[in-house]
Symmetry: C2
Subunit: 334 residues, 2 copies
DNA sequence: CAAACTTATTAAACAACTTTAATAAGTAAT
DNA sequence: ATTACTTATTAAAGTTGTTTAATAAGTTTG
């Protein structure tokens, strides 16, 4: 080693991630608390935290009350140590939001949609934001299409982006770690994060849409993609003797309620999810009880999911933030 | 340290499990192959393998052909180093099968059903088998009810076992690690293992039954249990305007084919599974094409699962064996 | 308020892996 | 057969964690 630093740890990513997570989840922690909750030894917790304090990543906030002996020093995370960028690629426009580790907005804006144009306009945008905000360390991209491991597989009306590895493209052009996710999948992850549901929950998030319904589905805490990225295409569920779910939706209030009730009954019998979430703008709180009633005609009430009406855009954003935060937390900054 | 052994490793369970898995999957391996495929250093692979050879767990089978330099020594796993026991708790009888690490049968037998009686008769049986077969190191129990982490939550007509922690009971009474799983869940896991599907597959295994249908469902390689252990209760899926899947099944050949087609369409739209498997005794190979045809009326063919007719009892057994093998592989024998 | 106790932190010894260097056992060409 | 090369194995150092011991900083009690 050529430099004269005394503390030096190659920063085990699992431990770094654990400390950051605990510090952010609990607001603050002592070395002993970190050691206990992460199942690492006290000296290890101490070394990592000391390093983080030197870098300015962790900040001491004084001492705990004594519990009979020497008082423990307490630390918190600097939520502005790094920032993340969420970008919504939509039909009409491209929105972006820069956020800190607590999910607080730093800056936001929008541009004309990038979907009809070249992806290099996207990396240009990210490059400009990076210039202005050197703390930027992650990019989360939400797209209206099927995504697997950063590659877009299906994206109706934007053939140009089909089979395009957007994640690698952005990472190489910007030098920032990126994550790409489908809009409804991001929304369901965001709902789970915002509602603080337990990890490994099973949740269905339904969006009715003008161009037909779709759902984001998480089972045991993991996004379901399926064999041909067709999962969540609930438009095709044959809820009636003639006509599928999409068709039934078009036939007025009563048929719609019945169709949704049957869809819930179907998912309850197959997946038995903990939650079934609607876009509040489409299905308000007042509709939940009537819908539940219809579903209960098919499946015993105790096995039906809890219904919820939530704000889709907020959940979508929370999902992209949560995915970006995941990248921030496991970073092993040089 | 008081004994004079030269080699001594506290047997890191992850490494032990990895070496055993590779050795069994590939039939044999060299130290360099283990090091590469497990991402551990060569010296570590060597130390663990040497220890295993001393214990008789691994066996040297000579040297590889030279690839230009010194020849590498090749090792295989002794499939009879430890044995597992699978027990099927069924209505009419209790079957058991003792097997080795390759899944080969060592001994099998049956007794009157234990479900109407006390669980201690089960531990007595295990105790007797353990006496006769000292290599026994794991017990897998298949039960016709909903199970979560070893506890039976729902078990129709055997109230005595409801909310009973069968896993802990067996582990404490016999001193053997145990795993408890529902019959259809075990079957779907067994199918995945026998068909060598890739990990993280999504598969639905349908059983029609006399007392109504049920399914075992695996998503992304993990068993789906749901919020109230109701997942897979496809009897309740409202496939028609009046009447659910169970009712439609009762109305003759044509209605049955249509109902199954709709169920497949529903699961395809929701989960988009890779495989949809039938019990060969109920739905033969010849029925697969007509059923697929019906499903294709609702969902584009490329998004439908591959249909298969398989032997349910064999899959069930394979599932219990696979779960038991999991216990055997991660054991850190004293 | 000083001894006895509690709890937090730091330091030293230990453990188990990885990396690098040395040695062993081959092959191929002269 | 000897030299040059290749690959496997073993040995020695180096890393990064854990465990145990020592020290620091409190509280409580006679």
């Amino acid at each position: 080693m050529t430099d004269g630093r005394l503390t030096s740890q190659p920063a085990n990513p699992a431990i770094m991630r654990g400390i950051r997570t605990v510090l952010l989840e609990r607001g603050s922690a002592t070395k002993a608390e970190l050691s206990r909750s992460l199942q690492i030894s006290f000296p290890t917790a101490g070394k990592f935290l000391d390093d983080m304090e030197i870098r300015g990543e962790a900040i001491s906030v004084g001492y705990d009350e004594s519990s009979g002996g020497r008082r423990a020093r307490r630390y918190r995370y600097d939520p502005d140590y790094v920032h993340g960028l969420a970008i919504f690629l939509e039909k009409d426009e491209t929105r972006y939001l820069l956020f800190n580790c607590l999910g607080e907005a730093i800056e936001q804006g929008y541009e004309d949609s990038i979907l009809d144009e070249d992806a290099s306009r996207l990396t240009d945008l990210i490059g400009r934001i990076k210039q202005a905000h050197p703390k930027l360390r992650s990019v989360s991209l939400g797209v209206p299409g099927a995504v697997n491991d950063g590659t877009i597989f299906l994206i109706p009306s934007y053939e140009k982006y089909r089979n395009f590895d957007l994640k690698s493209f952005v990472q190489q052009r910007t030098g920032l770690p990126a994550v790409v996710e489908n809009d409804m999948n991001a929304a369901v992850l965001g709902y789970i994060a915002r509602a603080k549901l337990e990890d490994r929950s099973t949740v269905v998030y339904l969006y009715l849409g003008q161009n037909g319904p779709g759902a984001g589905i998480v089972v045991n805490g993991e996004v379901v993609r399926g064999k041909s990225f067709f999962s969540g295409e609930v438009a095709f569920v044959p809820v009636r003797d003639r006509g599928n779910f999409a068709e039934a939706l078009k036939e007025g209030e009563s048929a719609r309620t019945e169709a949704i009730g049957r869809l819930i009954a179907s998912t309850a019998s197959i997946l038995n999810p903990h939650y079934f979430v609607f876009n509040k703008g489409e299905i308000g709180e007042a509709m939940l009880e009537p819908i539940l009633e219809r579903a209960a005609a098919y499946v015993p009430r105790e096995h039906l999911p809890k219904l919820a009406a939530s704000e889709l855009r907020g959940d979508y954003l929370a999902g992209l933030q949560s995915l970006g935060l995941g990248l921030l937390l496991s970073q092993t900054d040089g």
